[in-house]
Structure formats: structure tokens, C-alpha cells
């Protein structure tokens, strides 16, 4: 675990260099990683899904949107009527399921990661401001957060997307703009106690400006919590994206996404079980991997939660 003082001493050139413990935070991190099955599973899942997203055209000879009506509703390989050329079967329009799952990883990861970056930046900034300055600024930011929290999340997204129109960009934007509350709350909470600490006082007495104190002294100390919140947020955003696509307000219908596959498969639930089962498994395993990573990171950063 990173010592808070390490960060501040590193960033302050004129401060006295404190001798670091021999075991650097990096090797401790790797040691924990090797020990934890949870973390290994998480890393492997995330690695594979990222490979899907990056190498999609290499991993499958099929185009995920090309229809082939001669090969519609083929089941996955070991089952009757399956064909070897479509190992995971095909959907009602004869599109290859494996190709759609592999390409679908792109949308999930893209939406998950970019919207989390947007909401993370907004949330961390607002949380820092609210916690550090307090008073009326804090009140206003936290009331806005309350209002956002007061809406059932999916409802808010659905309503906004219905009006501004579905699409990848709009979805990322809406997810990004509405998802900042959890960061803001966590960061604010930590800043409230950090701002009373001696190192902040000493920085202030050395004449550091508020901006410098916030970004150079306080920010490095909240990074750990932000990473934990962000990893869980990526997981829940992927589920939200799938839900929105499922309800017909995700990216445009020609882009293959896991949520859309589920929504299309739903109509064939009586004839073709694989259409609903496989994309769901893809979502579940990916999200599980990311959640496990978040879980493990929380344990590493804050051993108190292990109890």
C-alpha cells in the first residue's frame, strides 16, 4: 500500500527526502497479486475481453452484421444441427454469434471506460472542491448530488436518451454526466478529514495556494479510493449499457452489442436458447472479472476491510 507521505514528499522537491521502506509499494502490489486467486481470475478475464475488443477482426472470419439467411438459428457446436463453421451458432438472421460477441466487447469496454473517465474527472473535481472549501459550495454540490441520486438511475438515462436520441456518443455522454455522484461523495468524505491533517497545514503555512494544496497534496491521497470506485463503476456501467441497449435505447441497431443481442434473442426464447444465454454469459463474466478486480484493489488499498 502506498504511504500517503511518500506521495507528498515526492511532489515537494524542497521537502526533506524520507527514507522509504525497502519493500517498494510496487513489489508489495505484485506480491499480493500473485497470492490472490481473485486477482488472477480478474486479470485473466479483463485481458481476454480486451483481446476480444482489440483483435476482433483477427479472431473471427465473419462480419458481425452480415446476414446469411441460409444459416439462420444454428445452435452452438456440440448440439444437433450445428455447423462447425459457426462454433457458437447463429441468430435469426444467420449472423455468427461468436463474431457478434467478440465485436460486442468493443462497445462494452468503450462505453464502460470512457464514461467512467468522464464521470471520474467530474466527480473527483467536485468532491475535492466540496470537501476542501465546504460551506455553501459544498451544500450546492451535495444537493445536486442528492437530486441525481433521487432519480432511479435507469429512468433518468432512458428519459434523456429518448429525447436526445440514442447513439454511442450520447450514451457515453449521459452515463458520464450522471455517474459522478459516487466519486464526489467518496472524495468529499476523505477530503473532509484530510484537510485537517498536519501535512496540509504545513503546506499552507509554507504559502501553498489552495489549488496547489488540492491537487498536489490532497489528490494523491484520494487516488486509491477513486481507483476502487472507478473499477466498480466500469462494471456497473457495462451492465447499464447492456440494459439500455436491451430496452432499445443503446447504440444504433447495426452495431453489435451484448445488450442488443439479448433483446433480439428474447423473441426467440422458445426456439433458440443460445441467443439469450451466450451474450448474457459474456456480460456476466466480464462484469464479474472487473468487480473482482475492484474487490481485490479495495482489500489491497484498505486492509481494514479484510478485518
Amino acid at each position: 500500500m502506498m504511504e500517503p507521505s511518500n506521495n507528498t514528499t515526492k511532489s515537494e522537491k524542497h521537502a526533506v527526502e524520507i527514507k522509504k521502506p525497502k519493500k517498494s509499494s510496487n513489489s508489495r502490489f505484485l506480491y499480493d497479486l500473485k497470492k490472490s486467486t481473485k486477482a488472477k481470475f480478474a486479470i485473466i478475464v479483463i485481458f481476454i475481453v480486451s483481446l476480444f475488443a482489440i483483435l476482433a477482426p483477427i479472431l473471427t472470419p465473419y462480419d458481425p452484421v452480415t446476414t446469411d439467411l441460409m444459416a439462420r438459428l444454428k445452435p452452438p457446436v456440440p448440439f444437433r444441427y450445428s455447423v462447425v463453421s459457426h462454433p457458437l451458432g447463429t441468430d435469426a438472421l444467420g449472423r455468427d454469434i461468436w463474431a457478434r460477441i467478440v465485436y460486442g466487447a468493443r462497445v462494452s469496454l468503450l462505453v464502460g471506460i470512457t464514461s467512467v473517465i468522464i464521470s471520474g474527472c467530474i466527480g473527483v473535481t467536485l468532491g475535492l472542491i466540496a470537501g476542501y472549501f465546504g460551506g455553501i459550495v459544498d451544500d450546492i454540490i451535495m444537493r445536486i448530488a442528492d437530486i441525481l441520486l433521487a432519480f432511479p438511475f435507469i429512468l433518468l438515462m432512458l428519459a434523456v436518451l429518448a429525447v436526445i436520441g440514442p447513439g454511442l456518443g450520447n450514451m457515453i455522454l449521459v452515463l458520464g454526466l450522471t455517474g459522478w455522484v459516487s466519486y464526489a461523495r467518496v472524495v468529499r468524505g476523505e477530503v473532509l478529514s484530510l484537510r485537517e491533517k498536519e501535512f496540509v497545514e504545513s503546506a499552507r503555512s509554507l504559502g501553498a495556494s489552495n489549488m496547489r494544496i488540492i491537487f498536489k497534496h490532497i489528490l494523491p491521497n484520494v487516488v486509491n479510493s477513486v481507483i476502487v470506485v472507478a473499477s466498480f463503476a466500469v462494471a456497473s456501467t457495462i451492465i447499464t449499457e447492456a440494459t439500455l441497449s436491451f430496452l432499445g435505447l443503446g447504440v444504433k441497431p447495426t452495431t453489435p452489442t451484448w445488450g442488443m443481442m439479448l433483446s433480439e434473442g428474447r423473441e426467440y426464447i422458445r426456439q433458440a436458447w443460445w441467443l439469450t444465454t451466450l451474450p448474457g454469459l459474456a456480460i456476466g463474466i466480464t462484469v464479474l472479472g472487473i468487480n473482482l478486480l475492484g474487490d481485490w484493489l479495495r482489500d489491497v488499498f484498505d486492509p481494514r476491510t479484510l478485518l
Binding site: 442528492d146 428474447r266 468487480n291
Partner: protein
């Protein structure tokens, strides 16, 4: 206590005010609401459009429109649905009991399953039981609820034909799958929360004191630990209501459960904007009131809160 109540009420009023502004602005997100409402403009002259805009009152200043909308909303007048050819409020009142039934039953199921499971996991900390329930919980949190719903539907309705596929016509039999689907995520999350708060309580000084004065383990758990675990559970119920209401949107759509969730999703897909505004406002209001209730329950359970 009075000060706390007053402050909390004031906060709620501000939040409600914000909600109405947000719900009202849905109308203007896509620019001029006239065009959104008309949709297909073929065969309409500029005069027709102007006349429509005037009739709907969209040519008035936004603030006037907002206060007018708010004034009507307070009286339960949320406009007229073009889709149902009926008063929006009337439709909502008809649909509301179905959603209430679904969410309340799910909430109860969540608590009934997650509370014993979480406490059990905490008491058996570090054993296989503990890891097993935690893996199960994490798994439950990672599966999208609508997928769980589809899988349950495929297994129990389509293949085994034990339960109806959709609708709300067969009493309890109709409720089984929607309720399980809706509570799945909550059970997973609450089990983890209850486990960690139980662990926290078990580490407190008063537990050690209770043991030191010779209380039986049974008494320590029941009299001293469980009561204190109740406090975070109350907060949890508040959070649960939010996620249950969100979940109801999806679950009702999957199982064609005729509640407010399905109504909202249909209104959104049909661009029935006034209905959307009404549903958004009411959903958010339910959530605010639930949280208010939770906060007041909190002060009764935990006197420390009152002093802050």
C-alpha cells in the same frame, strides 16, 4: 430533534424542487418540444405548427410554462396522454398498485434472504461457508438482472411450464419470477453489506464487554450484535428502494407486468413526453419520501444521529 427534522425536511423540499425542474426540462432536451410532439410533419403548414405550438402553450416564456406545469402537477394534473387517450394521472393511479406490490414483496424477500445469509457469513468468517456466500454474492452482483429474468423465464416458464411467462393474471404464480428477478441484485449486495457491518459490530468494545461479563455467545449475538447491525440495514433499505424502482422498469418490461415501470418504458419509446414527465416525477418523489422515512427511522434507532 426538531432542528434535525426541520433541516432534513428543508433538504427534501430543495431536492423535490430540483426534481420538478429536471422532469420539466425533459421537454426541452431535444430543442423545440413542438416538433417532438408532432413527430411526422408532412402535410403541415407553418401556420399549423404555430397554431399547435400556441395551443400547447410552448410559445410562452419557459418560466411561465414551468410554474404552470408545477401548479398543475401539484393538483395531480399531469396532462393528457396522446397514446392512451386518457388522463395521465388516472392511468398512473391504475398502474401504481402493481409496481408497489412488486417492489414491496421484493424488498421483503431481499431482507429475508440476505440478513440471515450475511450474518451467517460473518459468524463463519474465513471458512468455506463465508467464501462460498461471498462468491455467490459477487456473482449475483455481476449478472445483469434482465438476463437473470430471461434465464428464469426460459427454464421455468418455457421449458418446464411451471409458471406463466408474463402478465399479472395468475396471482402468486405470476409474481414468482418477477420478484426473484427483481430481488436478485439486492440479495447479493445486501448479503455483502450485512456481512461487513456484522463484522464491524463484532469488533466493537461493547461486544468484548458483553463476553467479558460472561454472556453466552447466543446472547452476545442476539442482544448486542444484531440490534446494532439493524442500523446500517435501515440505510440499506433506503438504497434498495432506489434500485428496486430502477429495476422495476426493466423487470416489468421483461415480464409484461402492468405497472408503472412498463408504463414509463412504453411512454419513453412512444415519445409520450407528458407521461414521461409524470412518471419521472413520481418515481423520484417515491424515492425521496422513502429516504426521508428511512432517515427518521434512523433517528429513532440511533440516538447519536440526533445529536449531530
Amino acid at each position: 430533534m426538531a432542528r434535525y427534522t426541520a433541516r432534513r425536511l428543508l433538504q427534501a423540499i430543495i431536492v423535490i424542487f430540483g426534481i420538478t425542474i429536471a422532469a420539466f426540462s425533459i421537454n426541452f432536451l431535444a430543442g423545440d418540444p413542438t416538433y417532438v410532439l408532432i413527430g411526422d410533419m408532412r402535410g403541415m403548414t407553418e401556420e399549423d405548427i404555430q397554431a399547435f405550438r400556441h395551443r400547447m402553450g410552448f410559445d410562452r416564456p419557459i418560466l411561465v410554462q414551468y410554474f404552470d406545469w408545477l401548479k398543475n402537477a401539484v393538483r395531480g394534473d399531469f396532462g393528457w396522454s396522446y397514446k392512451y387517450k386518457e388522463d395521465n394521472w388516472k392511468i398512473i393511479v391504475e398502474r401504481f398498485p402493481a409496481t408497489l406490490q412488486l417492489t414491496v414483496v421484493s424488498l421483503i424477500l431481499q431482507l429475508l434472504v440476505s440478513f440471515p445469509l450475511g450474518v451467517f457469513a460473518a459468524l463463519k468468517r474465513g471458512t468455506k461457508w463465508d467464501s462460498f456466500s461471498m462468491v455467490l454474492a459477487l456473482l449475483g452482483q455481476s449478472m445483469p438482472s434482465f438476463w437473470i429474468g430471461l434465464m428464469l423465464m426460459m427454464i421455468f416458464s418455457v421449458n418446464l411450464k411451471w409458471l406463466p411467462v408474463s402478465g399479472r393474471y395468475e396471482g402468486i404464480r405470476s409474481m414468482v419470477l418477477p420478484v426473484i428477478t427483481l430481488s436478485f441484485y439486492g440479495i447479493a449486495r445486501n448479503t455483502r453489506l450485512i456481512r461487513s457491518s456484522m463484522l464491524e459490530v463484532l469488533g466493537e468494545d461493547y461486544i468484548r464487554t458483553a463476553r467479558a461479563k460472561g454472556q453466552t455467545e447466543r446472547n452476545v449475538y442476539i442482544k448486542h450484535a444484531l440490534r446494532n447491525v439493524l442500523i446500517p440495514v435501515v440505510t440499506m433499505v433506503g438504497m434498495d428502494l432506489g434500485s428496486l424502482l430502477s429495476g422495476a422498469l426493466v423487470v416489468e418490461t421483461i415480464f409484461a407486468w402492468p405497472g408503472m415501470g412498463m408504463l414509463t418504458v412504453n411512454a419513453i419509446n412512444g415519445k409520450d413526453i407528458m407521461m414521461v414527465q409524470a412518471c419521472v416525477t413520481l418515481f423520484a418523489l417515491m424515492f425521496v419520501f422513502a429516504n426521508l422515512l428511512v432517515d427518521f427511522t434512523y433517528t429513532i434507532l440511533d440516538p447519536r444521529v440526533r445529536l449531530q
